[in-house]
Amino acid sequence: MFRTMNAVQQMARRSICSSARRQVENKVPQKQKVFQEDNGMPVHLKGGSSDALLYRATMALTVLGVGFTLYELVKASFPQKKD
């Protein structure tokens, strides 16, 4: 048990040390270039294919959701047969 604790301690120390050395890079100028490109894309899709994927998933959920709501409300509107 103590050997595992020692290993975990060493690992934690190593990962904290390495994250202190690894500086977060300033990627804002790159992002500014990407989002100011004159490609006619709306801002919610301008980031690339992951934007399109997220948009499609959200829209699918939206359409499904409206359908599901209408189904549940219609079902609730009619009296249920009590067994």
Binding site: H44, L61, T62, T69, L73, A76
Partner: protein
């Protein structure tokens, strides 16, 4: 002059977020009704997922418009500030409603309550135990958030990150303490008007603290990614104003809701 001012404003690109947000609201409300009658939470959960997706995408888009496209010029920022002030004011009125409900029932207690306040049978919480600690925690977070603000304004990146992290941790500490209080409380939301007003007011307040912590967490990520400059960091100022108003509402709760038998 008017043309110049107009050129500094911008129109947003068409976005699906208003539609998806509205549908999320539809799903959550009808889902809530369905869950109460048919004991199924699917619809409501779907609405919640859609809400989170909408919140993520719309705030991501606003960050793109401001930080990456440079659209948040001084006149636009002024509009954003007005918007935040109006929203916070509406939240203040929201809480005023719950306070008025409490005072309505406690200042003139009916015979059904025993003609006294706190009502007969209610064992109140000692305000000088966890509630006082919670007040101190929130006040401390007010100090740390001000420190973070000054660090941002002075371009001190590391200090800003540290103060912001401390602010978030204090928010989590508050939430943990409040959750424990809720678990240990000798009365419930179903215990008459005292229970109802207490848990609804403190419950909504607790939710707002969670919202504030989330807002600050996003600010922390943005600060780490160099989004904020020393004179343009409105997102952070919005989060700070929101949390300060939350703190004020807790201080008011402390002085009114947390009364003991002596008063």
């Amino acid at each position: 002059m008017a043309h110049q001012a107009h050129a500094m404003l911008y129109s947003v690109d068409p976005s699906p977020s208003p539609l998806t947000g509205a549908v999320a609201a539809l799903l959550m409300t009808s889902g809530l009704a369905i869950s109460m009658h048919f004991h199924t939470t699917t619809l409501m959960s779907l609405g919640l997922v859609l809400l989170l997706l909408t919140m993520y995408q719309s705030s991501r888009d606003i960050i793109r418009e401001g930080t990456f496209q440079g659209h948040h010029t001084p006149p636009v920022q002024k509009g954003l500030r007005y918007g935040m002030i109006l929203f916070i004011t509406s939240e203040v009125f929201f809480f005023l409603g719950f306070f008025s409900a409490f005072y309505h029932s406690s200042l003139a207690p009916t015979p059904e309550l025993g003609g006294c306040s706190p009502p007969t049978g209610i064992t109140t919480l000692n305000p000088f135990e966890v509630p006082l600690l919670n007040t101190a925690v929130l006040l401390a977070s007010g100090v740390t958030v001000t420190s973070a603000h000054h660090s941002i304004m002075e371009g001190q990146r590391k200090q800003a990150i540290q103060s912001l992290t401390l602010t978030i941790l204090l928010g989590f500490y508050f939430t943990a303490l409040q959750a424990m209080e809720y678990y240990e409380a000798p009365f419930t939301i179903a215990d008459g008007v005292y229970g109802s007003t207490f848990f609804v007011a403190t419950g909504f307040h607790g939710l707002h603290v969670i919202i504030g912590s989330t807002f600050f967490a996003i600010c922390l990520l943005r600060q780490a990614q160099y989004h904020f400059t020393s004179d343009h960091h409105f997102g952070f100022e919005a989060a700070a104003s929101y949390s300060h108003s939350c703190l004020m509402s807790y201080d008011s709760s402390f002085t009114s809701l947390f009364t003991d038998e002596a008063s």
